[in-house]
């Protein structure tokens, strides 16, 4: 098992063997989870803290379950971001965590780079559970695992990531992971929601949904935040759905056996039609959640191996 770092802060910079090993380990955890035979003492005596500066029931619960399945002591801390001095809270929290002898720290924060800043101040191994518009590495891992289970590989697949690319950490982590593993990645969205110089990240940019989906093996939808409408980046939800929402007509341009993914939570009728989201064979959205727990177990396992044994 090769993993070169103390923390998991980003996918960018990881090499194909690191990613492949993490996915293999996650795959084995997925099988164990289904058979109900998880090793319950791997993280025994380890403290895992879920530190969430943004609400996220889904991701927090997934990490909580992953930690508990491996026998860690799991603590959830939600920190209000409404306090006046957010920065002080962040670094004060770091010293508090050091005093608690936390081993594994899962951080979700609204600011890009916040987990990186924390990792410089805490003794624990830090896992980025989403930072601003930067990265969400475990989401990319669970997406890749889900794709691999359905398609048998990542290399050579055409993956279309659609919607609000500019503000999406999920999109960034997926772009890095999938291009690293040899997929052909397209990003599809209106120009106002495509980040500057996106093509420099090794992806193809499309502004037309049908062209972007043509021949795709995987269609990955992203959540469109309501505030993008008020910010003037998109005129209205109905216009967005008309041109960039995934419905049967647009999906017909992708390969007949293509799969549909969404990191959740979904805005039905904005970026995705309910009939597609709930499609029995094309939608793998439920499986993404299942793979989320397995991937987080793999990440916790690998990072815990790099920690000093408790003194």
């Amino acid at each position: 098992m090769s993993y070169p770092r103390k923390h998991l802060l980003a996918i960018e910079g990881l090499e194909p063997p690191h990613i492949a090993d993490l996915l293999d380990l996650a795959e084995s955890y997925a099988l164990l989870n289904r058979s109900g035979k998880t090793q319950r003492d791997l993280l025994k005596g380890r403290t895992l803290i879920n530190l969430f500066f943004e609400d996220s029931t889904r991701t927090r619960t997934s990490f909580e379950l992953a930690g508990k399945r491996l026998g860690a002591d799991v603590i959830n801390m939600s920190v209000s971001t409404s306090s006046v001095n957010k920065g002080e809270t962040l670094l004060d929290t770091a010293s508090t965590l050091n005093a608690m002898h936390c081993d594994l720290l899962v951080v979700r924060h609204g600011q890009s780079g916040a987990p990186s800043l924390l990792s410089q101040k805490v003794d624990a191994a830090v896992i980025n559970a989403g930072d601003g518009t930067h990265e969400h590495p475990t989401q990319a891992l669970l997406d890749a695992l889900t794709i691999r289970r359905h398609k048998g590989r990542l290399e050579g697949l055409v993956v279309a990531i659609c919607g609000d690319i500019a503000h999406s950490r999920v999109a960034r982590s997926n772009m890095h992971l999938l291009t690293t593993m040899g997929s052909r990645v397209r990003v599809v969205g209106p120009p106002t929601l495509i980040p500057a110089e996106a093509a420099r990240l090794g992806v193809e940019v499309f502004h037309d949904m049908k062209a972007g989906l043509a021949g795709a093996d995987v269609v990955m939808m992203l959540r469109l935040q309501r505030e993008r409408m008020s910010g003037g980046l998109v005129p209205s939800a109905r216009e967005f759905f008309r041109f960039y929402g995934l419905d049967a007509e647009k999906l017909a341009h992708a390969k007949p056996d293509s799969i549909v993914m969404h990191p959740g939570p979904m805005n039905r009728g904005v970026e995705i039609d309910s009939a597609i989201a709930d499609h029995p064979t094309r939608s793998v959205i439920g499986e993404q959640v299942e793979m989320g727990v397995a991937c987080r177990m793999a990440v916790l396992d690998v990072l815990a191996r790099g920690l000093r044994r408790n003194v």
Binding site: G87, E88, L90, S112, G113, T133, H134, R172, A196
Partner: protein, 426 residues
């Protein structure tokens, strides 16, 4: 009556006259009494052997924020004066976007007096261009000028309204002062933390398009043309803006500009893994823009190099990147980082020093900034090759937020004289 001082065995560097030759300089009553080859010490004079080091006019810093009034926890005039003396700076033009803003004659004379009290640096305050630097009503240019304001600006805040800028440029003509603009279109820059582009996209940081600078420069050049006023652009950082300024100068308009060391020494990659000490306003640019700034230092498009000193403390900087305050400490490194371009062979020595002395002096009609008989004996003695390392935490003065933290520099200040009195070294 001060004793005469003769500085001998020096390499005299005077950008105003083009002098670069071995010689000596005699200080009498706070003024330069003589300089050149073959000077001998008058009876009773103190003699300083420069050991062959460079002797140049004390540096004139065209733009710095010193923390006073209102942000004394970041820097005070006394602490900034220490940093300035260690950096060879003898005159600092002080920005008015303080708390309160320098929009009242009493505040202008307060700053000048606080400078005199240091005994080591002359402080020349800018007056606020608009009341409270809030961008609305014009400040009292005439009264502020009488009190000693050298020119008018809202500091780090762009004068956003074209109408306000037009009025300011027009009205300032009556008092012979320029308007200094922070050239950044605010509606495009709002919320931005880095230059828009590949790096900002990778880091997930809100970007500011570099066009925000050129756009404001283009607008204000048009306003200078219709008003006949003199516009000065602060910390120019992009090739596109420099091209506009070059063309405006060729047209004969009263347009000048400066830049600051980060924009010719660093590029955007310095923000690396969210390094907030390299978060500046305007943000660091691409390598192509950095090279354009270097070229404009050489071809004369840029009129001065300013320190752009913006003191920040740990609480301002130890934050996630987008939340951290922009700004870098620049007094102690102004000379060393400028000399790095000389050592690299990019900029001739006298051209570089001129941008720190004679050219800002002529922009402001100051008697300083030259090695000439009768000029104030504001001097810096430096060894051009002696190395040192910039280390945040060990810099002179209070502000430690240097974007050059960790950088090795060649060019060490050995001594600084203010009006004939040695205020650093020795």
């Amino acid at each position: 009556m001060m004793r005469d001082t003769l500085i001998t065995n020096a390499r005299l560097l005077d950008p105003a006259s083009g002098l670069d030759a071995p010689g000596a300089l005699l200080i009498r009553d706070g003024l330069i009494a003589d300089c050149g080859a073959g000077l001998t010490a008058p009876e009773g004079a103190a003699v300083v052997d420069a050991g062959g080091a460079c002797l140049a006019p004390g540096l004139i810093d065209l733009r710095a924020n010193l923390g006073e009034p209102g942000a004394e926890h970041r820097e005070t005039i006394a602490s900034a004066a220490q940093a300035a003396a260690a950096g060879g700076i003898t005159t600092i033009c002080v920005l008015p976007d303080t708390d309160p803003a320098l929009d009242d004659p009493a505040l202008i004379s307060f700053i000048a007096r606080r400078g005199e009290a240091t005994g080591s640096v002359t402080l020349l305050p800018y007056g606020a261009a608009t009341s409270g630097c809030a961008g609305k009503e014009l400040a009292e240019f005439g009264l502020l000028r009488e009190a000693g304001a050298i020119a008018f600006t809202d500091g780090a805040r762009a004068i956003a309204s074209a109408r306000s800028m037009r009025l300011a440029l027009s009205y300032a003509r009556a008092f012979g002062a320029f308007i200094m603009q922070h050239p950044e279109e605010p509606s495009l820059a709002a919320g931005g933390a880095a230059t828009e582009g590949e790096l900002a996209t990778r880091l997930g940081l809100p970007g500011i398009t570099p066009a925000a600078e050129a756009m404001m420069v283009a607008r204000d050049i048009a306003l200078a043309r219709i008003t006949g006023g003199h516009v000065h652009f602060a910390h120019i950082s992009t090739a596109a803006a420099l091209d506009l300024i070059r063309a405006a100068k060729a047209e004969g308009l009263a347009v000048t500009c400066d830049t600051a060391p980060p924009y010719f020494d660093l590029n955007e990659t310095a923000i690396g893994d969210y390094r907030t000490y390299a978060k500046l306003s305007p943000p660091l640019r691409t390598e192509v823009d950095r090279q354009a700034v270097v070229a404009a230092l050489v071809d004369g498009t840029i009129d001065a190099i300013a320190s752009d000193h913006q003191p920040r403390d740990a609480d301002d900087k130890r934050l996630p990147f987008a939340q951290a305050e922009a700004g870098g400490a620049g007094l102690a490194t102004l000379l060393g980082v400028t000399l790095a371009r000389v050592h690299a062979g990019d900029v001739p020595m006298l051209t570089a020093l001129g941008l720190l002395t004679a050219r800002p002096a002529s922009l402001l009609n100051l008697p300083q900034g030259r090695l000439a008989k009768g000029a104030p004996a504001d001097l810096v003695l430096f060894h051009p090759d002696r190395g040192w390392k910039v280390e945040a935490g060990k810099l002179p003065g209070k502000a430690q937020n240097s974007p050059f933290d960790g950088r090795a520099l060649e060019g060490r200040v050995l001594g600084t004289w203010k009006a004939g009195r040695r205020v650093f070294g020795g």
